[in-house]
Symmetry: C2
Subunit: 204 residues, 2 copies
DNA sequence: GGGGAAATTGTGGTTTTCCGCAATACATCC
DNA sequence: GGATGTATTGCGGAAAACCACAATTTCCCC
């Protein structure tokens, strides 16, 4: 029943209690949610790949590396998957701290099966959304990185609403040169106008 | 020591225990934080005004109306002030639910004075920021509301990057008319170009 | 030395944007 | 009826943006 790999939309279960892992796998499967399971934080970390998509269902207390420690390690590796803590030993400060650290939810065991499955489904949807947005932003960043310094200077001036002749004066170059850079910026950024460019960079 | 009114940056203490209110007032005062205190949720609600600025330091358990109930009431009245719950009777589900409902923090009594004062200071800073942003957005919304229907249609097309002659064709009007509406939109929105307009509406 | 990229510039022409000035038509309000 | 606001349109002229075609210079790499 264990699935492995960069499978989109997978609930990754990390718990040292095998009975819990099995029960959760079964629950998720009954809800049409793909899942994979790991017996320890170290095991998950060893297999972690940045392309993994989905969410984490994390126990708090585990031998050696704890849930929050794994969370911190993953975050420092750039992992943005939503994390749901599932624990039988929570207290208020720990719950509050976990949520303020960015956990998606903090649920005490035993818990309502439907509630948990619902929250996992929501976490998966959030991951899909975050991933899509990150993908777009990476594409924009890549195009921005392809600009030469001069092109970038002209782009900034264009985005500040300046006329070509003003930009030319500011940069001490010919207006024709401004036009050339401007056209190159639009081409590289894949837009047709300054408005489109402004909107693209606003993350719209 | 109680201060009252739409004073920017005030910590509003709501607790039915007078000793707590006094202690908190004293603590905040020693940290240069203005505060005001109310003995009940109802008392605060009766005095609430939308112009109030600052944050709330809320007890959870109070006679009649509870902290979370006050929270819900304030939110439904559009109040965006950050809320810090201060409680001696918290449990994990309550803490988690409160934070997921948008509370700024959830702190158990007794607590560290410095930590609480720090969090209140942070909450006040957040409120100032949120308030400033809301103010700007209200100004933009007001200007948007001043546009006639035709002006709005032309604005949407301009923001879509269309040429005046294309807009004219789409709306079945003369190009000169498009120019007139376009100029009116820029004037009402206080911008000089389509780029500025795009940026203004992106919330930049 | 040759090739490629980046920066720069000019010429001439086209398209698009901008706007003063003027006018008409319609609806609403006092 | 008069005033006001909105929508519309035309004319003529100016400014700004856009670009094909062409060219030169500099720097870096093989």
């Amino acid at each position: 029943m264990t699935e492995y790999g960069p499978t989109p939309g997978t609930a990754h279960i990390v718990d040292d209690d095998e009975a819990i892992r099995d029960a959760l796998s079964w629950l998720f499967k009954s809800r049409g949610i793909a899942s994979s399971a790991w017996p320890s934080a170290e095991a998950f970390l060893a297999d972690y790949r940045p392309q993994m998509r989905g969410c984490l269902v994390l126990d708090i207390r585990m031998e050696d590396m704890s849930g929050p420690e794994l969370f911190d390690r993953l975050r420092s590796q750039g992992c943005r998957m939503p994390v749901i803590y599932l624990t039988g030993h929570g207290d208020v400060p720990l719950a509050v701290q976990s949520l303020k650290n960015g956990a998606f939810d903090f649920i005490e065991k035993p818990c309502n099966d439907n509630l948990l499955a619902d929250r996992v489904a929501e976490a998966l949807a959030l991951d899909a959304e975050v991933n899509q947005r990150a993908s777009q932003q990476a594409s924009v960043a890549e195009r921005l990185a392809s600009l030469t310094q001069r092109e970038r200077e002209v782009m900034d001036a264009v985005l500040a609403g300046k006329l070509n002749k003003v930009i030319a004066g500011d940069l001490d170059i010919a207006m024709r040169t401004v036009e050339v850079h401007r056209a190159r910026v639009f081409e590289k950024m894949g837009v047709k106008s300054a408005v489109e460019l402004a909107k693209l960079l606003a993350g719209n």
